[in-house]
């Protein structure tokens, strides 16, 4: 579903080049639930923004659903984001001027979907996250957990094949976080591929697989980490 090979992302200024991702490799299969972990500044979010076609990469190859996205134009990238990818952000990213209904409707409108179909999907998605009764509420009138559920409903309404979640429970208390995780698991059971960036090792254990990002490189814990070969396994575990 998502395959990056020798991918790099360099931020250049007049005096320095900073590698956010360097020789980054990852292969997420269709229907997988992968947790991406790593310390702050390791490149997790950069990976997620590139994976979600929110920004471009500098080198390497990225195949999304078998399509090489490196040469796609802005419109094609927008179309893929709209039709194949769902986003769940740490800060919810709802549009404050729009009520719950209109927020969920945003990506559907950009898809050019007919009104009747939109209304059905909005109703279904909000029922699934338990907020069908809050359609006319504005984000500011909802709790953090409810806002995140609206964000998930917005992603769900588009029936994305890939759901990218960036610290989806980062701003929530334990109980709300549990509810959100249960929703993500339910979506995964429905067949979606989920890539979730998280700091929380406990949440990561609920994914099928965890990938660590360290200094801009991906280390799949199912594989033999490269730093183990250098004989500092204990230190690496402590750092993780």
């Amino acid at each position: 579903m998502l395959k990056m090979t020798h991918l790099s992302k360099v931020y250049r200024t007049e005096v320095v080049e900073t590698y956010a991702l360097r020789d980054f490799n990852i292969d997420v299969k269709e229907g997988e639930f992968v947790a991406v972990m790593g310390p702050s500044g390791s490149g997790k979010t950069t990976f997620l923004t590139i994976a979600g076609l929110l920004e471009s990469f500098t080198g390497g190859e990225y195949l999304l659903d078998g399509v090489d996205v490196s040469n796609l134009g802005d419109n094609a990238r927008s179309k893929i984001r709209n039709e194949k990818i769902g986003f769940v952000f740490q800060s919810f990213n709802l549009i404050p001027d729009l009520n719950v209904h209109d927020n969920v409707e945003v990506p559907l409108r950009y898809r050019g979907m007919k009104s009747a179909e939109r209304q059905k999907r909005i109703q279904d998605a909000l029922e699934r996250v338990g907020l069908a009764s809050r359609m006319k509420h504005y984000p500011a009138e909802l709790s953090g957990g409810q806002q995140q559920r609206v964000a998930i409903a917005r992603a769900l309404a588009g029936s994305p094949r890939l759901l990218l979640a960036d610290e989806p429970t980062g701003n929530l208390d334990t109980q709300m976080a549990r509810g959100v995780m249960e929703l993500l698991e339910e979506i995964h059971r429905g067949g979606a591929t989920i890539v979730m960036v998280t700091h929380d090792p406990e949440l990561a254990t609920r994914a099928q697989r965890s990938v660590h990002v360290i200094d801009g490189q991906a280390v799949d814990i199912a594989e033999e980490p490269r730093f183990h070969a250098r004989g500092d396994r204990a230190e690496a575990h402590a750092g993780a």
Binding site: L54, E55, S78, S91, D102, Y110, R154
Partner: protein, 410 residues
Amino acid sequence: MQIQPIVAALRHHKAGTVLIALQIALTLAIVCNALFIIHQRVAHLSEPTGVDEANLFVIVNQWADQSSGEQIDAQMQADLATLRRLPGVRDATASNAYPLLGGGWDDLIMMKPDQVQKTTDASVYFGDQHFIDTLGVKLIAGRNFRADEIAPMKPRDSSTPPVVIVTKALADKLYPDGSALGKSFYAMSATPTTIIGIVERLQRSEVDTWSAPFAYQALIWPRRLDGSFGTYYIVHARPGEVAEVMHHAPKALYAQDRMRIIDPKDGVLSFAEIRHRAYDSDRGTAILMGIICAVLLVITGAGIIGLTSFWVGQRRKQIGIRRALGATRRDILRYFQTENLLIAGAGVVLGAILAVGLNLWMMLQLAMDRMPLAYVLVGIIVLLLLGQGAVFAPARRASRVSPVEATRSV
């Protein structure tokens, strides 16, 4: 079109939305009425007077001594003979006024001697048998004055000459069936005067707004005004010789008799100068109104640019979220264009009502004409185009916001 969510979002930005809509409304109301006034002011600037302006000039002659009426009349006859003898002169006449003078005499016209209410007004010109030819006015019916019909006239003389030449506009006003020639009317007294000739067009000497509806109603009395306050000599030069004759004519008059004053600056006027002076105030008003319109439009455009730029800056994250959710650059551009169209649409609806209301108020208070609705329609189109033009640059900037903005902290 995503009108409903845009309207919903605008409810959260009421102050800016209402202010811009009001600004657009006021601009529309003022610009429509100002354009109407401009049009009214400039419409008649180029209308023909009916005289051969290209080859005419006027000498403003004032007498320097206290001669009797008879002496002045004799002097005028001598002056006219002198002028007609000048090389390059086709003809010359003396009158109390000339078209576009900016003042003059006005007679109240009645159809019956005991009539209380006037039938209409007419501008009065005194002229001899040379008047029509000198001015280059076209006689379309009847005849010119004969020499024996011309008589001197003192300023306080209120007797009505037995014959008169009128303009077609006046003839049609008095006799709409076209039978004016040979018919009579009453002017200064209970004595009737008979229409012996009709000229095609001769504009009134007044250029005030009140006289505009009957700008071509004029009559020519067969008289020489022998008042001591002065005389206008109207001279018709041969084509291409106006400047030369204008230069020599005052010298010839001074040579004939020095007891006169011809202002070296304003005493000899070409018709181009007369036209320019006559409409100076109209032109000034039109220019002022034009500047006001331009300033208002610029301010409104700047207001739209400023507010949209502010909103774009304020909504960068929101734009990023929309882009992340699949909006193309074109979608974002269209969002701001639609938003502006909605605000401007509300503004022009209110503005159209205000424009008509302002016109009605001016009709009542300032005797203005009714403004045709075409002005409002043109104003609406101009304001909507201005809005779209003004919003384009900030909207284009918004469309270039990267989708990665969605992941940035505010």
